[in-house]
């Protein structure tokens, strides 16, 4: 970077951002969008293919009802109207990983339109308008080999894997979101988080950004107060929740520096770089392909029966916002405490930990304490930290049973995060269990009394507080694996003093 970026506070003091988000969600249907091939992730290249998803001459698509149902449920959960009649459309452009050189998508007749999603940012509710939710098919993946970078430049061969081709994709497009000011990056992140939670609660996708089953493009523009909205850019390759926030912020700063210098924003696609946190230009919209959309003649129009739609609406699960409010009550948390749980992305983790047997307080302590600290240190999402709710509950169970003290539990947790096994296994393998065998402890206590005769005498003479030094000595000799309270009781008993 050669230009110096302005400070964020100054940018939001002078400019008003407008953001918008386009999100693609890979549905977790058993089969592909237009054929019977399985959709499971992984698998040798080109083993989940057939004439239809390979686009062989003569093959024809047949729409997957489960995918249509999932899309309608997403639309309903986002408060959209469901079209009584709509069509698929062909989006025509040449690309080697697109078998037919057109994508079956929806154009001016999407399945769901005009909804909203309420998200909370800093305790405030922001209503995000949903423009449309539509259904389309995914493309294959191209692998460039023979070059140094794995990119097309310098590659000697390009290999295409069509396993992903034809997997159902739902595209969710927001209306432009003005008026969020300095909070724009956080609103963007909160929206994607909330959307992810809503879709996960519907059970229609695993919505994992790192596996690409949830992908996000972020539109950003800046304008001076009172003036028209600025030219927007579309940032792609935004692959984590944290990146959503960073991408908006970075693009706001970049655009401000261009505008400050009297320049103009080019309408273009930009790529977000996870490592540097900034964006670089991709293809310009001025030279963009004319997709020549037209209604897909190989498919009949979709006309979801209103009674069926009503049934689906009635059967929607409790949505995350409602669910969270219920949990907050159950867990007895203040708004502020709940907010910190939300900010940490720990709601589900705590919920699952409680379900696995821990108390809400203990579950919250682990996830918001030790594990959040580690997540921040390593730049990972809490859910990907390496410890599962079941393991955290198991760990707390060992503490509650007196087998681990707080300090040892932390050591065990480190082992869990490092993938050494279950808390019980780690405790056993690394011999971390609290020494509760009184015989061994008594020996240690006697040893400490003998080695500190003067202190022992003080205690005998009634200075009970002096026993702390003896407890310390025992804890040291047992390498912390003793329960301090038990040790103290033993010492006092040994010295014939009432505690």
């Amino acid at each position: 970077m050669t230009t110096t970026l302005p400070a964020y506070d100054e940018v939001v003091a002078r400019y008003e951002p407008v953001i918008g988000l386009e999100t693609h969600v890979e549905l977790g249907t058993r089969t592909k969008m237009f054929c019977g091939c399985p959709t499971d992730f992984g698998g040798e290249p080109n083993t989940r293919v057939c004439p239809v998803c390979l686009g062989l001459p003569g093959s024809l698509p047949v729409a997957n009802k489960a995918a249509i149902e999932a899309t309608i449920r997403i639309g309903l959960a986002l408060n959209c109207s469901i079209a009584e009649w709509c069509r698929f459309a062909r989006k025509n452009y040449f690309y080697p990983d697109m078998p037919k050189n057109f994508q079956i998508s929806q154009y001016d007749e999407p399945l769901c339109v005009d909804g909203y999603l309420d998200v909370e940012v800093n305790g405030e509710t922001v209503r995000i308008g949903i423009e449309r939710v539509h259904l389309e098919e995914d493309t294959g993946k191209t692998l460039h080999v023979g070059g140094a970078t794995g990119r097309i430049h310098g590659a000697t061969e390009s290999l295409v894997d069509y396993n992903r081709a034809g997997i159902p994709l739902v595209e969710i497009v927001t209306k432009p979101i003005p008026g969020t000011g300095a909070l724009a990056p956080e609103v963007a992140r909160a929206y994607v988080t909330e959307l992810r939670d809503v879709i996960r609660s519907l059970g229609v996708s695993d919505v994992r950004m790192e596996e690409g089953s949830l992908r996000c493009d972020v539109n950003t523009s800046l304008n001076l107060p009172g003036e028209e909205w600025g030219t927007r850019t579309e940032t792609k390759n935004v692959n984590s929740l944290r990146s959503v926030e960073r991408a908006v912020r970075s693009e706001m700063l970049r655009q401000a520096s261009v505008l400050d210098a009297g320049g103009r924003i080019t309408q273009e696609t930009r790529h977000f770089h996870e490592d540097t946190g900034d964006t670089t230009p991709g293809r310009s919209k001025e030279t963009a392909t004319d997709y020549r959309y037209f209604p897909e003649p190989d498919l009949v129009p979709l006309a979801p029966d209103p009674a069926w739609v009503a049934e689906l609406k009635a059967a929607l699960p409790e949505l995350p916002r409602v669910h969270r409010r219920r949990l907050q009550e159950q867990w007895g948390l203040s708004d502020l405490d709940m907010q910190s749980v939300l900010n940490a992305g720990a709601v589900e983790l705590i919920e699952q930990t409680v379900a696995a047997g821990a108390t809400p307080a203990a579950a919250r302590k682990w996830w918001l304490g030790e594990l959040s600290r580690r997540a921040n240190e390593t730049g990972r999402e809490l859910a990907d930290i390496g410890a599962t709710p079941a393991q955290v509950a198991e760990l707390q169970g060992l503490v509650d049973a007196g087998k681990l003290n707080d300090k040892l539990a932390r050591v065990v947790l480190e082992g869990v995060v490092a993938g050494e096994g279950s808390p019980t296994e780690i405790m056993t393998n690394r011999n971390l269990e609290v020494v509760s065998d009184t015989g061994a402890l008594t020996a240690a206590v006697d040893e400490a009394i003998a080695a500190n005769a003067a202190i022992a005498d003080k205690v005998r003479s009634g200075k009970v507080a002096a026993a702390g030094a003896l407890v310390g000595a025992v804890m040291k000799s047992t390498q912390g694996q003793a329960d301090a309270k038990t040790v103290r009781e033993l010492i006092l008993a040994r010295l014939g003093v009432e505690g």
């Binding site: 003569g58 093959s59 025509n92 004319d290 959309y293 498919l299």
Partner: protein, 491 residues
């Protein structure tokens, strides 16, 4: 020419079922006939002798085992090269698919196999079914057995030529703007375009998805009806397939064969009164109208004002869909690949492959379609053409409130000499002037031989309402009973 090759499908099936001949004998007779005449006719692009004889043996074994045989068991059939045939070359008449052996069978091909018919091979066609003469085939034209210097119609000229040359008693065609009916007309054979959605398109290499309709070709109306029955009906792999049983076309053909059309009301389309048609064709048509009247039909004239716009609307809709359908031919996954020398980019290889693989007519239509769908032109071209399509459909609907079926000459002119119309695409497009409205509407149409003009066959087209395919078979069979079938001079 062996006796077996001049027989109808009905006769062959009866001989096989009765044990008077075997399916292998029948098949061998047709293979011999192909070997004797096809170097002159060029109806076939690929003859699958081995596959045909194996299929014939299977029929004979089933008969020997006492298993029930269907009404077409043991009857040879020629399949237009537009249908995917597992392991058997499928070129669509194009260089771009040269050598491609599909890994799957089209639904119709599956049904042909299930019916016990014997596939002899794949027939010639205009490249991607775009043309009316087979002159746009990348593999050279087929020739009309009535006069080898003339075209056998198109795009399915190979199938109709095979029938007229007695190389096969049955054939499969596909009709997007007349590609079954017009070849039928100019070769003196029967060709039926079923209701759109009445026959499965799964495995039919797409030209224009909303118009393409596979259908039967034969030398008699009853044979065509039997073949129609065998291949028709709902297919869950084709979303546009109609989930209803095929109308009883066989019963209708049998009923029509009595020659009685009392109570049947037929409409002559005013807009097809002869402008642009050869006088000889119109003379035969007028005679045919008289014949139909004598058979008891009531004839009225009926105006379908928007039929005049059918040809221009068709030449926007079909190219638009084709520009998208043919995008997949890019050299990446199948067929021809040109220029992949390790130095060229993917885009260059795709471009060179398409440049080398597609013929001029295909390129012309891809360009027209690409233009018509472009941003800023869509409403004026594709959008407008779709509105015209709706108006044409309304014309049909209104007409069928007054009459049972519409009649016209199938094509404005008899078989023309090879080379006569290739320099002006519009002159070629006119061959489908009378057949295209039916495709835009989606209803069924049949061409049945009705006479000769200057010694060359003329066909009558009967158009019926959607899913009333049986009506056109009844009328066609009645006419056939009156005028008979037409046999070309010996080859």
């Amino acid at each position: 020419m062996s006796d077996l090759t001049t027989k109808t499908a009905v006769e062959i099936a009866a001989l096989v079922a009765g044990g008077e001949t075997s399916a292998v004998e029948v098949t061998q007779a047709h293979l011999d006939r192909i070997a004797a005449v096809d170097d002159r006719v060029h109806a076939f692009l690929h003859v699958d002798a081995e596959g045909a004889l194996a299929a014939a043996r299977a029929v004979d074994e089933r008969r020997a085992a006492g298993e029930p045989l269907g009404p077409l068991a043991g009857v040879p059939v020629a399949v237009k090269d537009v249908l995917a045939t597992k392991g058997v070359p499928t070129t669509v008449g194009s260089k771009i698919l040269e050598g491609w052996r599909p890994p799957y069978d089209a639904t119709i091909v599956e049904r042909l196999r299930a019916a016990g018919t014997v596939m002899l091979g794949k027939t010639n066609m205009d490249e991607f079914a775009m043309g009316s003469s087979t002159e746009y085939s990348a593999y050279g034209p087929s020739r009309n057995p009535w006069d080898l210097s003339r075209i056998p119609g198109g795009s399915g000229g190979g199938s109709s030529a095979a029938l007229a040359a007695y190389e096969a008693p049955l054939a499969i065609g596909s009709d997007t703007g007349g590609s079954i009916r017009q070849p039928g007309a100019v070769t003196g054979t029967v060709g039926a375009k079923p209701t759109y959605g009445g026959t499965s398109r799964y495995g039919l290499v797409a030209f224009s998805s909303s118009l393409d309709t596979p259908g039967p070709c034969a030398r008699t109306v009853l044979d065509a009806a039997l073949l129609h029955e065998a291949i028709g009906g709902h297919d869950p792999r084709d979303s546009t397939s109609i989930p209803q049983p095929v109308p009883d076309v066989v019963a209708a053909a049998k009923r029509g064969a009595s020659g009685d059309l009392t109570g049947v009301k037929l409409g002559i389309v005013t807009e097809f009164s002869g402008e642009g048609a050869e006088p000889g064709v119109m003379a035969v048509f007028r005679d045919t109208v008289d014949t139909l009247t004598k058979l008891g039909a009531e004839i009225v004239e009926i105006s379908c004002p928007h039929f005049t716009y059918a040809l221009p609307a068709y030449y926007l809709i079909a190219p638009s869909e084709c520009s998208s359908n043919l995008a997949r031919f890019d050299g990446v996954r199948f067929g021809l690949r040109v220029g992949d020398d390790g130095n060229r980019s993917l885009e260059e290889v795709m471009s060179l492959t398409r440049e080398a693989g597609f013929g001029p007519e295909v390129k012309r239509r891809i360009m027209i379609g690409t233009y018509a769908l472009s941003s800023g032109y869509y409403d004026a071209y594709y959008g407008q053409a779709q509105k015209v399509r709706t108006l044409i459909t309304r014309d049909f609907t209104a007409a069928f409130e007054q009459v049972d079926a519409l009649i016209s000459p199938t094509t404005p002119f008899v078989a023309f000499p090879i080379g006569a119309r290739t320099s002006d695409p519009y002159q070629m497009y006119l061959a489908d002037l009378f057949t295209i409205p039916t495709n835009l509407y989606g209803g069924p149409g049949i061409s049945v031989p009705c006479g000769l003009s200057d010694g060359l066959p003329v066909g009558l087209q009967v158009m019926a309402p959607t899913m009333a395919d049986d009506r056109m078979y009844r009328v066609a069979a009645a006419l056939e009973s009156a005028v008979g079938t037409f046999t070309p001079p010996a080859l």
